[in-house]
């Protein structure tokens, strides 16, 4: 089959260019009769391959362009979105946004649309990720399955299931006051589960990056199968408080949950762990171990986040927690104006600064503890402490005298990513855990494992 007959197999040619996005935004802005108008454009390509039991189950490819129009009339505002881009449909969508705005009550928190801004340059688009067509994806799947099959041999014929996805995305913002922002990015993710034929062992591994070449499918397949083999016939050990070594992917599941709490308004309103007793918030107070530094920075070469939010507001580097002290909270433009501070968007990737040791060295320093591969089904229990519940999954092991000695049964746990960062024993080297996120391994004292799970 010739390439041009394949349809949208790859994303590098499927996205709106800067000029096309600007032309589309201008068409919409010209149609608007509102006092102020904002246009948010998303142009996307996505290709994925899903497999189970060495067969492709579902896979797919999508192209789409959508336009969201936000109209402001006086102090009233509403939005309408469409993905049909002919003149008639765009006009209908603009008119709908304007008429919904006219019907809405006045918004006392309305902020004026922004004029032209300057943004840091972030090169987050990698062509080889956008060109990940079905043949390349399936070849990668085959490498991973072959590696898992070989590594799983001690347990027999291991079962494998996994998912490979590549996305290429353009986000553009334009306002009737002359703002125009354009950003293109890619991301890829590959994850795989391996299960032993006796049903007693399960392992998982994953990788994610803007650049597909940073992901090694064979290594992911091998690690998933090795964990499955090593976790067979898990021992039930009583639930309780244990030292836990969390691999970077497990930390990736927990620490970003702090984002919801990093909101100045809910803190100032008295409904957050960062609320100050008697009013205000806890900026400037120690909230975590002094080795903890958590920041967002779209220009960081490993994070490569979008350098603006949906209002078109530039996003720079923000240190949320510095050496254990709460330095910043996210301020919407309204709340920032009310409090007399600079607005601070909550995006731009997330990085928990790591130390120098490898996960193996973090394990070696543990007398007795539990090694966790990743977590599952995490839900909030108490917003006052960011307390969560969830389960371990696909590889949980006992550590004795600095060595991984055997698989143990999965646990349910009730723990807070915030309180946990006050019980830090050690912090490992940071690594890219997914596109736009960098996390280290952590050793936590008294992690609260509350009950056993029979799940494998």
């Amino acid at each position: 089959m010739r390439a041009q007959d394949r349809g949208p197999s790859a994303g590098s040619g499927a996205l709106l260019s800067r000029e096309e996005a600007r032309a589309l935004a201008d068409r919409v802005l010209k149609l608007s009769t509102a006092d102020e108008t904002r246009v948010n454009i998303t142009s996307e390509w996505s290709g994925n391959t899903r497999f189970a039991d060495s067969s492709i189950t579902t896979s797919g490819g999508v192209t789409n362009v959508s336009v969201r129009v936000t109209a402001v009339v006086g102090r009233r505002r509403a939005s309408a979105t469409t993905n049909v881009l002919d003149d008639q449909s765009l006009k209908r969508t603009v008119d709908l946004a304007v008429s919904l705005a006219r019907l809405s009550p006045e918004d006392p928190e309305l902020m004026p649309e922004l004029g032209p801004q300057t943004y840091p340059s972030v090169r987050a688009f990698v062509e080889r990720t956008a060109d990940l067509d079905p043949e390349v994806r399936n070849a990668a799947v085959k490498r991973a399955v072959d590696a898992a099959t070989a590594a799983g041999k001690p347990a027999g014929a291991v079962f494998t299931a996994g998912f490979l996805e590549a996305n290429a995305t353009v986000v553009a913002v334009a306002t009737s006051k002359g703002l125009f922002a354009y950003h293109q990015s890619t991301d890829a993710a590959f994850s795989m589960t391996s299960r032993t034929p006796d049903g007693t062992g399960s392992g998982w591994s994953s990788g994610g990056a803007r650049d597909w070449s940073r992901i090694d499918p064979a290594s992911i397949g091998r690690i998933a199968a090795q964990k499955a083999v090593a976790s067979r016939n898990p021992q039930a050990i009583p639930p309780g408080l244990y030292t836990a070594v969390l691999e970077p992917q497990a930390v990736n599941d927990l620490v970003p949950l702090l984002s919801n709490a990093l909101n100045a308004r809910t803190a100032d309103e008295g409904r957050s762990p960062f609320s100050k007793s008697g009013g205000g918030n806890r900026i400037g107070e120690k909230v975590a171990d002094e080795r903890v530094t958590l920041y967002s920075d779209p220009a960081d070469p490993l994070l490569l986040g979008r350098p603006f939010d949906l209002d078109g507001l530039p996003i720079g580097r923000t240190v949320w927690i510095e050496k254990g002290v709460l330095r910043n909270l996210a301020y919407s433009r309204f709340w920032a104006q009310k409090q007399g501070v600079r607005p601070t968007p909550l995006s731009g990737g997330l990085s928990l600064t790591g130390g120098t040791r490898t996960t193996e060295e973090i394990i070696a320093g543990c007398e007795r503890g539990i090694l966790v591969t990743h977590f599952w089904y995490i839900r909030s229990l108490d917003p006052r402490t960011v307390l969560q519940t969830g389960l371990t999954r696909d590889g949980v092991f006992l550590i004795e005298k600095g060595k991984v000695t055997r698989g143990v049964k999965n646990f349910r746990w009730n723990e807070s990513p915030l309180l946990m960062l006050n019980r830090l024993e050690d912090i490992g080297r940071s690594e890219l855990t997914q596109a736009g996120q960098i996390m280290p391994s952590l050793r936590i004292r008294d992690f609260n494992f509350t009950s056993l799970s029979d799940a494998v």
């Binding site: 096309e20 060495s54 979105t81 002919d86 079905p134 079962f159 056993l452």
Partner: protein, 528 residues
């Protein structure tokens, strides 16, 4: 390479004509009539099928979806957002040499849909390099028809002012409760027009109308805050359902529960008898019966994400596994009135079905689709698919999703009052709180919104910081009382996630109140 990006910007005028939402007509009974398939949509769908067959597909389907959503969110005395969105496109699925392929595009032109069909076929062929098992489809009788969710008034046709007024009146009433500082209410509305055309001759157009209101209030005390969320079930119903909830009338009472929670006694952890109202139990059914009996999980297809299930393998579980007591009957149903998963035909054109998952306490069947049903046919004797195929958008591939799964009422027509009266020491839980369950659906932990201590057959005061934790088979086998027909209530969720990339489906669960013996209760308060 995809050479036609500029085509996004110059779609034909015919597309625009097709998109303008059809006027829904009212029939003689005062209900909206089902619109028939749009000729332009049929032309594109057939173009896609022709291209798919030309590329070698032994089977293909083309699904065109038009989705219109509107969300209104409010807090206290203001509207936080009014968002209206429409999404329109086609998804084409192909089967070549037993391998699936799927591609979707919003480019609704003959050229655009043809490219999507060829892309799907390319994927089918590429899959052969890895494929070990050929897909075999269960038989289906081709069908032509139209259907619409029975409603008198589509919420999207209700003037915005009327909807905003209802929500703000609700908030105003809630703020009358002394101690309440924050109130949120919202309204989600969806109208979905879906046309499915298959290479086997099926041609159906369905219009789904769904609505989901919400309400929560937060009371702030001394260095403390507590919230209460009312369980306003989303439904496949019209505006008349929203009106029936009388939100402005009830809001002050709901909000006052958040204030009461500030003063409630922290629960004593340990073993308690548990009385679950239907507003809590529906979600426990969803997580511990709905998900474990999905056939794709049973066969390992969700192993890398949502997980597998304890209810496997089929040959050892069907007709043998004792899920609960003999009075426990659980029904799967895609025909149930007012439910979110109600259809006339699923996304493979299979007629809506009703069947038992648990029969007199024993696991009887699973949830099936055309490509999976044959793999358990020798254990169930059922050759057809039960019609559980669903895709959440034109851009998503259809796969096995949950039908409405409900706990049927007991023979004796008793309710919560009789169950409380028969309980010596227990905890009664209302509405859903936090929920979490492991990837094989054994260990779960659920909370609620309001908790009451039951002593000697009476409510003895309010509790807080309560969660119940159990193992699914032990939990259902500890059930010793259930309510009867008049205590049945239909809960549900707009957003149930599954699949990679994750898709969201809407599903309802009906149930009656029930009592469970000696369940582990946790105190969820922690400070360090």
């Amino acid at each position: 390479m995809f050479p036609t990006r500029r085509d996004f910007l110059k779609v034909t005028a015919a597309t625009a004509a097709a998109l303008a939402s059809p006027q829904l007509r009212v029939d003689a009974g005062g209900q909206l009539s089902a619109p028939s398939a749009d000729p332009f949509v049929l032309e594109l769908a057939n173009e896609a099928l022709t291209a798919a067959r030309g590329a070698g597909a032994s089977y293909a389907d083309a699904r065109v979806g038009r989705y219109r959503r509107q969300d209104i969110t409010t807090r206290e005395r203001q509207v936080q957002g009014v968002n209206d969105s429409e999404s329109y496109g086609i998804g084409v699925r192909t089967l070549i040499n037993g391998c699936w392929g799927f591609a979707a595009t919003s480019q609704m032109t003959k050229d655009g849909v043809r490219r999507a069909a060829l892309e799907a076929a390319f994927m089918s062929r590429a899959a052969q390099a890895v494929q070990r098992r050929r897909v075999e489809l269960a038989p289906v009788t081709p069908v032509t028809g139209t259907w619409i969710t029975p409603v008198r008034r589509d919420p999207l046709d209700v003037p915005l002012e009327e909807k905003v007024a209802l929500l703000l009146a609700t908030n105003e009433a809630a703020l009358k409760a002394k101690g309440v500082r924050f109130v949120n209410s919202s309204l989600q509305q969806l109208r979905e027009i879906k046309t499915l055309v298959t290479s086997e001759g099926t041609n159906v157009t369905q219009t789904f109308i769904r609505v989901g209101p919400s309400f929560s209030a937060t009371a702030v005390g001394d260095d403390d805050f507590q919230s209460y969320e009312e369980e306003l079930a989303p439904r496949g119903m019209g505006w008349e359902y929203v009106e029936s909830l009388a939100m402005p009338v009830n809001a002050e009472r709901w909000a006052s529960i958040a204030v009461e929670k500030l003063k409630a006694k922290s629960v004593e952890a340990g073993q308690w008898d548990l009385i679950l109202e239907p507003t809590n139990l529906w979600l426990t059914i969803h997580e511990s019966i709905g998900h474990p009996t999905e056939l794709d999980r049973v066969l390992g297809e969700e192993a890398n994400y949502a997980g597998t299930t304890f209810a496997a393998p089929p040959e050892k579980m069907l007709g043998q596994f004792k899920y609960g007591p003999a009075f426990m009957n659980v029904q799967a149903d895609r025909t149930q009135e007012g439910s979110l998963s109600r259809v006339a035909w699923d996304d493979e054109g299979v007629s809506a079905d009703q069947w038992l998952i648990v029969d007199k306490g024993v696991l009887k069947d699973y949830q099936t689709t055309r490509d999976l049903a044959g793999r358990i046919q020798k254990f169930t004797g059922v050759t057809r698919s039960h019609g559980c195929s669903f895709a959440d958008s034109w851009r998503s591939v259809q796969f096995q999703r949950m039908p409405n799964i409900s706990l049927l009422p007991g023979e004796q027509d008793i309710g919560i009052t009789e169950i409380v009266a028969a309980t010596e020491r227990g905890i009664l839980i209302r509405n859903r709180g936090s929920w979490s369950i492991d990837h094989q659906r054994y260990n779960f932990q659920f909370s609620g919104q309001a908790f009451y201590e039951v002593r000697n057959g009476k409510i003895a005061g309010m509790l807080r910081d309560v969660a119940y934790q159990a193992n699914t088979p032990a939990f259902w086998n500890s059930m010793d009382m259930i309510g009867g027909r008049s205590s049945y209530w239909l809960g549900g969720t707009f957003t149930d996630g599954k699949g990679e990339p994750s898709q969201s489906s809407s599903v309802s669960h009906g149930c009656v109140p029930a009592r469970f013996r000696n369940v582990t209760i946790l105190n969820t308060r922690r400070t360090a």
